[in-house]
């Protein structure tokens, strides 16, 4: 009698385990199928996982081409000088890319500068930059071998002491490329021109 009762107890315990497992498993299956149906309405067997397409990769600018003013020059990377102003390229026939900002093609304001003239007074790389007009094309090739074409959107001149730094260098949702060079009167005492020309352009491709 005692043996029969012990066997009954064991069977009862095993039965409890089975019932508990079965009930919770069915509940889990039901929840999973509900989640799938919420994610996609076409097929209950398809689960949609949200993904974000990565942004295109833009390299370091290496050459600058502006057919309108016959510019085809290397691009140097520049930072800031001792006065915290944007630095200039070492070679007067090169353009300088501000490498503390975004790369050309990225969202934001990429900036290139170039000398207007040389110490002899001879033309430098951006001698004719003020001749650019809205719609003119600017092409930058990066170190990945990609060409990025920009179209001029605006041309402006500013006094050196009233230069709109935020507009030229600051953040924007657009993909801007802004060119800077000198303009105005040469001051022999300060060794500086009175004005700056800025050519604003936007990614066209």
């Amino acid at each position: 009698m005692k043996k029969i009762f012990s066997t009954f107890l064991i069977l009862l315990a095993l039965g409890g385990g089975y019932i508990g497992f079965n009930a919770s498993h069915k509940l889990a299956e039901k929840n999973t199928s509900q989640n799938v149906l919420q994610a996609g309405s076409h097929s209950p067997n398809t689960q949609i996982i949200p993904t974000k397409i990565p942004e295109a990769v833009y390299g370091i600018p290496k050459t600058l081409q502006i057919a309108k003013i016959n510019v085809n020059s290397p691009v140097e990377s520049v930072g800031q000088d001792q006065q915290k102003a944007m630095d200039v390229p070492k070679d007067s026939d090169d353009a300088g890319w501000y490498d503390l900002g975004v790369k050309p093609g990225e969202k934001g304001s990429a900036v290139l500068d170039g000398h207007l003239d040389k110490s002899s007074g001879a033309p430098a790389v951006f001698w004719n930059v003020s001749k650019l007009e809205v719609g003119d094309k600017i092409i930058v090739r990066d170190d990945l071998g990609h060409d990025h074409t920009f179209a001029v959107t605006e041309k402006a001149q500013y006094p050196y002491n009233d230069f709109p730094l935020q507009k030229v260098f600051g953040a924007t949702d657009k993909r801007m490329l802004n060119l800077i060079s000198c303009n105005g009167q040469w001051n022999t005492a300060t060794k500086n021109y009175s004005h700056r020309t800025v050519i604003y352009s936007q990614l066209a491709e």
């Binding site: 009954f8 385990g17 996982i49 944007m86 934001g108 207007l116 953040a171």
Partner: protein, 56 residues
């Protein structure tokens, strides 16, 4: 006899609970997120415009 019946009911309940909680733990495993966030590039705005005149 009553004692043994109570013990049997307790064992039954515990077994059911253990099995249920094991299954629940298995089914609440979450799938890792696949969304990639691209950091926005930042710009350090200089203090002044470049001196692009009369290069040496």
């Amino acid at each position: 006899m009553i004692k043994k019946a109570a013990l049997a009911t307790g064992v039954f309940a515990m077994s059911a609970l253990a099995a249920a909680s094991m299954t629940f733990a298995q089914t609440t495993t979450t799938t890792p997120a696949t969304t990639t966030v691209t950091p926005s590039p930042t710009t350090s705005v200089p203090a002044a415009a470049p001196k692009t005149g009369r290069a040496n």
